[in-house]
């Protein structure tokens, strides 16, 4: 498994998700609606890699706009079932040294957990989103996949940094990847609500990890994050609203797919979008359109923004006592095929494990099949924890 949709340079280098633009190479974001779209510029993260001497190996496959679980519902995926978790699989197979993936609703974290590689979704605002095909701008974030935490740290240092082209980019002096705490002496809390919702195999992974941490002098106990469920709802609501708005630019007028069948401008819009977008995206658009509508804005969208603030406060309070949170990255240890008609609810269910970092902007790292979260800008603590668990090669 693991496939490029566009191979740029063979023989190693870095894979870049097809939701991230590389100048001159078709960027479809897994969707027919962007067929033939060749961006005029590269993403800032890609530019930084190239400036530092890394080769871009190719564009790794993603599901349409990265909205599905693992990339299973990409345009063209009907004829090819090797697209799932493409970037993580390419890393696992050693085809590439690392990968840049957009974490919109946990996809790269799930993929890393299933493929056994490391992935860090860094603090929101530390890696520029300039050049990312946008869906939910308030929480999506480019992250880094690599075989080891050391590999993640190396690439993150290259791609992170202030970018004036991204208005939400943080000033560079607020973070660095070498100031982390040493793992021994840390306090880690297992998130009860997320642990409890996972399969027995997943629970066993978390428990085994906790044991190893204790063995190296890390204090581990169970903590409660009562708003975990509300956080999932709030994030999916924001995601749908923002995605609905952002994908409205694909209207068949300027670039990408245009239906050959129209007699007027309304038909051009409707037919191009009907033929160009998949069932899941349409579901997201309808849901997002609904929560932003006049009658629902204050009962839905505005409420989600309030929940967002509450969750951030609850998480902030936890990090007064804990250095990191430990939980599964997904409910099961294996992928089970399902029908696209159930995709919206399936992704919604699974995002219970991944929503809090997207909603609040805190960093989250998957390593050894489990997930850690830390306070904003404490990405290096996560890297240190993962390195300690990977044994010996801590820097």
């Amino acid at each position: 498994m693991g496939q490029f949709v566009t191979e740029i340079k063979s023989g190693g280098g870095i894979a870049v998700d097809d939701t991230i633009q590389v100048k001159g190479y078709e960027t479809k974001a897994g969707s027919r609606i962007l067929e033939g779209f060749r961006p005029l510029f590269s993403a800032e993260a890609v530019e930084r890699l190239e400036r530092a001497g890394y080769d871009i190996a190719g564009k790794s496959a993603v599901g349409e706009f990265g909205l599905d679980l693992l990339g299973e519902f990409a345009y063209g995926a009907e004829t090819c079932d090797t697209l799932r978790g493409a970037a993580a699989e390419l890393v696992a197979a050693g085809t590439v040294k690392g990968a840049l993936c957009v974490d919109l609703n946990g996809t790269p974290r799930r993929a890393a957990a299933l493929s056994g590689v490391d992935f860090l979704k860094p603090t929101y605002g530390t890696v520029s989103r300039y050049g990312v095909i946008p869906c939910a701008c308030s929480g999506e974030q480019i992250g880094v996949a690599a075989k080891t935490a050391g590999g993640v740290r190396e690439l993150l240092r290259v791609v992170a940094g202030h970018d004036p082209k991204d208005g939400t980019s943080l000033p560079a002096e607020t973070y660095d990847y070498h100031d982390g705490k040493a793992a021994p002496g840390m306090r880690v809390g297992i998130v009860k609500e997320l642990y409890g919702a996972a399969s027995d195999e997943q629970k066993a992974r978390v428990t085994a990890c906790a044991e190893r941490l204790r063995g190296m002098g890390v204090a581990v106990d169970e903590i409660a994050l009562p708003l975990a469920d509300a956080a999932r709802t709030a994030w999916n609501l924001c995601l749908c609203a923002e995605t609905c708005n952002n994908v409205s630019r694909y209207d068949g007028v300027k670039f990408g797919y245009r239906s050959p069948d129209y007699r007027n401008i309304d038909e051009l819009y409707v037919n191009s979008r009907t033929e160009g977008l998949n069932f899941l995206t349409k579901f997201v658009i309808l849901y997002g359109s609904d929560v932003l509508s006049k009658g629902r804005y204050f009962t839905c969208y505005d409420k989600a923004l309030k929940v967002r603030r509450l969750v951030a406060e609850q998480v902030k309070a936890l990090f007064k006592d804990y250095d990191a949170l430990l939980c599964p990255a997904c409910s099961e240890t294996e992928y089970r095929p399902y029908d696209i008609k159930d995709a919206f609810m399936t992704v919604f269910a699974e995002s219970l494990f991944t929503a809090v970092p997207n909603l609040t902007g805190i960093p989250a790292m998957v390593s050894g099949g489990v997930q850690f979260m830390a306070d904003a800008l404490r990405d290096s603590d996560l890297l240190n924890l993962a390195e300690a668990l990977e044994g010996g090669n801590a820097s």
Partner: protein
């Protein structure tokens, strides 16, 4: 029964910024061939992120200060969604929840007196592109030059009662905004939506309201208001039709308004805060800086020019254009006499522009060059007629005053006219020496010659001076 009209205005004004509101493209909507002032951001390409042009915020604050508004300390940008081919992202970035200015007022004066018009709010937003319908090929083309050009929308309270008041208000905004460098207010850079209803005079209740969208010429706005008021009156008094709340379009050729069906009013724009644009916090320091750097108002300039001895007429002409005031101020700052400067700008520059079929607002000259020409004339290096000639060359051939004089042999060395003026001046000023010379004292010639050289600051050609002196003396 006597009725009165209740009119409210939404006025869109294009801001005079160098670049667009969220990208680095040039900000002027009317310049350039179609689609030459666009970048991936304002063309709606995915992956580009908006970054707020700070100048836009400052100009909006400036407008708010002029219109006596409260300036919000917390202001946000929101997205407004709708599909139209001139809108590349299918959403417009505007301000819905927290506009930058609120609760202002402005006084308007008509022949019937002065009234205060309330300002509900001012908000910032980006403009959309332009559709060009080509009847020949039956196609519609899109020009994105105007997308993301910064606008402010000034929403008045429904405080107008007559078309005259609306005209006075718009004229006043135009003068104020031009003078404060907020907007150039050129043709099409100011567009209005007008809300109208009528009610019995003295009543507090509002009648059925209609909105006429998107008018940019003052005469259309006046005619549309007059037409629509009459239509409402006919409907209410004579029952000619039943009024419905709707959006209408003004047809300037037919001279009437038409219903735009209910398409526009039925739209749900699904506003929400733009997560890519952080809320803007306006602190005391920033607000004070904007206040401190506000260009002087017409009233302040008038007082200043009065104290410099300019006539009412000169003051009125200069203050009709911010650029003329700036030129005047810069030239006088270079040491030129205020009265003389006003005359050079208004009479000389004005005359030459008129000759070329241009108006004062098109005047383009650097203060240094104008000052140099004035210096040459007042220093008798060249006479005023020659000065005019140089000025024309500076204005229309981009000539440098000194280089032009040299190339065309103007100035004391070659310009016999100018030297003759000096000679005559010296002869008139020293009648005794003239009398002596004419009486046979040839030595007096040296004194007269020396006087001319002195007047010409040593720049005169002795041979020319001598010849002219002899010539003029022979006439006496």
């Amino acid at each position: 029964m006597k009725y009165e009209a209740v009119i409210g205005l939404e006025t869109h004004v294009e801001l005079a910024t160098k670049s667009k509101i969220f990208c680095a493209c040039g900000g002027h909507s009317t310049k350039g061939e179609p689609n030459t002032r666009v970048c991936p951001a304002c063309a709606g390409m995915p992956g580009m992120l908006p970054v707020t042009n700070k100048r836009v915020v400052e100009l909006a604050m400036r407008a708010g200060i002029l219109l006596n508004c409260d300036i919000s300390r917390y202001t946000t940008f929101d997205k407004k969604s709708y599909y139209y081919p001139d809108l590349p992202c299918s959403y417009q970035i505007t301000q819905w929840f927290h506009p930058i200015c609120r609760n202002g007022s402005v006084e308007v004066t008509t022949k019937d007196g002065t009234r205060t018009i309330g300002i509900k709010q001012i908000h910032m937003e980006e403009d959309a592109g332009k559709l060009v319908h080509d009847d020949w090929t039956e196609t519609t083309l899109v020009d994105f030059n105007r997308t993301s050009v910064p606008l402010i929308e000034i929403v008045s309270k429904p405080d107008f009662r007559t078309a005259d008041e609306v005209m006075a208000y718009l004229e006043k905004l135009k003068t104020m905004f031009r003078f404060a460098n907020i907007s150039e207010c050129e043709e099409g850079a100011m567009r209005c939506d007008v809300n109208i209803s009528i009610r019995p005079e003295g009543s507090e209740e509002l009648g059925v309201r209609t909105e006429i969208k998107n008018m940019s010429s003052l005469s259309s706005i006046r005619r549309a208001i007059q037409y629509e008021t009459a239509r409402h009156l006919d409907a209410v008094e004579r029952g000619t039709e039943t009024l419905v709340q709707e959006t209408r379009r003004w047809d300037d050729v037919k001279g009437r308004t038409f219903s735009m069906r209910n398409k526009e009013t039925a739209a749900d724009y699904r506003y929400f805060p733009d997560p890519n644009l952080m809320p803007i916090l306006i602190g005391d320091d920033w607000l004070q800086r904007v206040r401190d750097t506000m260009p002087a108002s017409v009233e302040e300039k008038t007082a200043e020019y009065q104290s410099k001895g300019l006539s009412e007429k000169e003051i009125a002409s200069l203050t009709s254009e911010r650029a003329l005031c700036d030129l005047f101020d810069a030239v006088t700052a270079l040491g030129r006499d205020p009265k003389d400067t006003a005359s050079w700008i208004l009479t000389e520059c004005g005359g030459i522009l008129r000759k070329h079929g241009q108006v004062m607002s098109e005047l383009q000259i650097t203060p240094e060059r104008l000052s140099r020409i004035m210096e040459k004339v007042s220093g008798n290096e060249i006479n005023r007629a020659a000065g005019r000639k140089v000025l024309e060359a500076v204005l229309y051939e981009d000539a440098d005053p000194d280089a032009y004089c040299e190339a065309h042999n103007l100035g004391a060395q070659g310009d016999a006219d100018a030297v003759r003026q000096v000679v005559l001046k010296v002869l008139d000023a020293t009648p005794n020496a003239v009398k002596d010379y004419l009486g046979g004292k040839k030595k007096a010639f040296q004194a007269l010659f020396g006087g001319c050289m002195k007047e010409l600051k040593g720049n005169g050609d002795p041979q020319v001076i001598r010849a002219l002196l002899e010539e003029e003396l022979s006439k006496r």
